[in-house]
């Protein structure tokens, strides 16, 4: 069985499927990350500079600011679920396939 030192990781990285996983993940993860950071910082920025907008009442006494704050929860949960669905469906399968192939070839176990 191969030891950690002798594993040919370069070969794994060079696998086109790994490159595809890497590209898909990068785009998806950093995209969602950017979305979440931008959406989050809109809240304190808006609370500081657009108070008049936040004060507009839309549902009884409930105002725009309160709904926006509540929407942060919905957006955070949605991002988490979107990522987890994508990872469970696509990323995990691809990673498992690459790892299984690699194990079969080199004897490195997960």
């Amino acid at each position: 069985m191969a030891t950690l030192e002798t594993v040919d990781w370069d070969a794994l990285i060079g696998d086109p499927r790994f490159q595809s996983l890497h590209r898909q993940k990068n785009l998806f993860l950093w995209g969602l990350m950017a979305l979440s950071v931008v959406y989050y910082f809109l809240l304190p920025i808006g609370a500081a500079y657009f108070q008049d907008l936040y004060k507009i009442r839309v549902w009884g006494v409930v105002n725009v600011g309160l709904l926006f704050a509540l929407s942060e929860f919905v957006v955070a949960w949605t991002i988490a679920l979107v990522y987890s669905r994508k990872a469970n469906r696509d990323f995990d399968a691809l990673a498992a396939e690459i790892a299984a192939d690699f194990s079969a070839r080199t004897g490195v176990k997960s």
Binding site: P44, A47, G60, N63, L66, A95, S110
Partner: protein, 636 residues
């Protein structure tokens, strides 16, 4: 560790709960008459957690069992445990308190604490599970000089844990003292002894289960309270809030907060203002800086990172963050009702009278909902919520001590001093237990010494260091090929120094000149105020006279405080740092120190290029994405 030693230890822990009873004194949230009830509820909650520890102790045989529960925790269990770790005294009592005192701004705080988990979910949890073993420094040491990175990593972990730990100890001590009247030192010692019991005997297995039990109790208690508060309004959000803003207590609170501008506002406008931003946060930049520390700091908190080593796979790590986000987010939505409900039913004046920071809003609301201070059920609810608060503090402290002890034993002792030579399982577990005792004793000592310290400053420091030092180092070593030893050492040092340094010169510290100036202002205004109040007391209108009497008492209190302040700071001109006034206006250093931390890692790495670290990039990147060798113990 034999059973014979274990039993007396358990007995000692139990004794600690009851011994505390005689030393109780008045001025507590619970009246004398119902104190037995409080202690019974406390004892039951503690007994349950100790029974779990007893069961867990049988399962701790190796270092892996002790630090990470043998990586056998499921995603769902870990999700609850993360929620337990995160819903610390500061966040669960603090947020409800902030909402009850400042309305909208308090709720905005909780949003940052939830969004933080997106960073953890997307960038940190899974790669850490795939390449780490027990500690944050495992990840840093993977492709870098193990000695240097373990030392800086461990020091940073110990720094962050100590700040957070001290905050929990101080907050917990004050809380328990206020709620059930045990004196401060006794309650700090009790928290410390109980925590040591859980951690030494049960390691991560017990710590995890204590977190889970406590999180479940907390969520159930909150659901019950919110259901009782909300039901009369037919579970309508506008209906509930309409009643909140129409309440004279809420309107009076807003008038106090706004001062002069409030005079031109109608009662309805004042009430509505409670749902609008700007009552707590005054400087926009502070709010954004705090947001940065919260959102990026969580991903660098060692006791949270450590939780991802307790699950077997990246998939389970992902599942645990999803569960944690559901539980934590759901709980923070409940704080909206806890906070506004407390403002409406208990009243901010009553909340602030018991604790100026508003930390007891939740427990006091529980008492009100149960039927008030003179009813059995009201006191049962108060006792239950208080017991959960106490369990919270003990559990969070356990997680923190475990993180600090693992840095000390696994990174510094086994990794650096013995350079991995001492690898027998017994030797490692022994080192871990010894480190736990050292950290635990330190925690108790620091907790007692730090009496009266500002909890918010300590928590802010912990998040600032985690966001400015730990987060850039972990993120870049995982995602940037050129990151190396030079970058990690520079990032850890500069990030920590920037965060701590900026906080020490910030307005968060006490500046005697400013305190004395404020006190003199109160004293200067006293004669005129006293004359006005005295005149009003003679008024024929009973309401006016009654109000004047209250005002007089408040004035006396303010004058006493001003005199005490002047006396206390008599010889001092400067803050702890020797400054007469703050050097910067920023309350949270995040907006400066986080970019500095990132720049330090980048420049440090570029300056000290390291072919080995770059050569190992493919290994790190392949493993973090595929989970290959996840179960392999890697001795670096």
């Amino acid at each position: 560790m034999s059973v014979i030693i274990r039993k007396p230890a358990a007995a000692a822990l139990l004794a600690c709960t009851f011994l505390a009873a005689p030393s109780a004194f008045a001025q507590a949230g619970v009246s004398e008459e119902y104190r037995w009830l409080t202690f019974t509820v406390f004892a039951v909650v503690i007994a349950i957690t100790m029974f779990v520890t007893y069961l867990a102790a049988k399962r701790v045989h190796s270092a892996s069992d002790f630090y990470t529960a043998g990586s056998t925790v499921s995603g769902l269990q870990n999700g609850w445990a993360i929620a337990g770790d995160y819903l610390s005294a500061a966040s669960f009592l603090g947020i409800a308190g902030l909402i009850s005192l400042y309305g909208y701004d308090g709720f905005m705080y909780s949003v940052g604490w939830l969004v933080a988990y997106i960073t953890v979910l997307l960038l940190i949890a899974e790669p850490c599970r795939n390449i780490g073993r027990y500690t944050l420094a495992d990840i840093l040491a993977y492709r870098n000089d193990p000695k240097k990175t373990r030392v800086v990593g461990a020091l940073s972990v110990i720094t962050v844990s100590t700040f957070y730990l001290t905050a929990q100890m101080v907050g917990g001590g004050v809380l328990v003292k206020t709620l059930i009247g045990i004196n401060y030192e006794t309650s700090v010692i009790c928290v410390g002894v109980l925590m040591l019991g859980y951690v030494i005997f049960g390691g991560m297995v017990a710590t995890t289960w204590v977190q889970i039990i406590k999180a479940v109790l907390l969520v159930v208690a909150s659901l019950v309270i919110v259901a009782l508060v909300w039901a009369p309004y037919g579970f309508s959000l506008p209906g509930f809030l309409k009643d909140v803003v129409a309440d004279p207590k809420v309107q009076a609170r807003v008038a106090t907060l706004l001062g002069d501008p409030a005079k031109s506002m109608s009662a309805a406008e004042l009430g509505q203002r409670f749902l609008e931003p700007g009552l707590y946060f005054k400087a926009p930049i502070d709010q954004i800086s705090l947001g940065m520390a919260l959102v990026f700091g969580t991903a660098g908190l060692p006791h949270i990172l450590m939780r991802f080593f307790t699950v077997p796979t990246a998939k389970q790590a992902r599942k645990s963050v999803i569960w944690a986000m559901a539980i934590i987010g759901g709980f923070y939505v409940l704080t909206l009702f806890l906070g506004f409900g407390a403002a409406r039913f208990v009243g901010s004046a009553n909340i602030a009278a018991v604790d100026a920071g508003g930390n007891l809003a939740g427990p006091l609301l529980a008492q009100y909902i149960g039927g008030g201070p003179n009813s059995f059920f009201g006191n049962f609810m108060l006792a239950f919520v208080s017991a959960v608060a106490f369990a919270t503090i003990v559990a969070v402290v356990s997680g923190l001590v475990l993180a600090a002890a693992s840095a000390m034993a696994h990174d510094l002792y086994v990794g650096v001093v013995r350079q991995g030579k001492e690898t027998t399982p017994q030797g490692q577990v022994k080192a871990a237990r010894v480190a736990t005792v050292i950290v635990g004793a330190m925690a108790i000592g620091i907790g007692i010494a730090a009496k009266g310290q500002n909890v918010a400053v300590l928590v802010g420091l912990a998040f600032a260091v985690a966001a400015s030092a730990n987060f850039p180092c972990v993120l870049l070593t995982l995602y940037w090929k050129r990151c190396n030893t030079g970058g990690i050492v520079a990032g850890m040092l500069i990030g920590t120094i920037a965060a701590v340094g900026l906080t020490l010169v910030s307005p968060n510290l006490t500046y005697p000149l400013a305190v004395k100036a404020a006190a003199h202002k109160v004293l200067d205004a006293e004669p005129a105020k006293r004359a006005a109040v005295t005149e009003a007391m003679g008024s024929a209108d009973e309401a006016v006279a009654a109000k004047a009497k209250k005002d007089l008492a408040a004035l006396d209190k303010a004058v006493d405080k001003a005199n005490a302040d002047i006396k206390k700071w008599d010889d001092d001109r400067t803050s702890f740092m020797g400054l007469e006034k703050p050097l910067i206006e920023l309350k949270n250093p995040g907006i400066i120190s986080i970019p500095l931390g990132f720049l330090a890692v980048i420049f440090g790495s570029l300056l000290f290029r390291d072919k080995r670290a770059e050569g190992m990039w493919n290994e790190v990147y392949a493993r973090q994405n595929t989970g290959l060798l996840v179960s392999k113990a890697t001795a670096h």
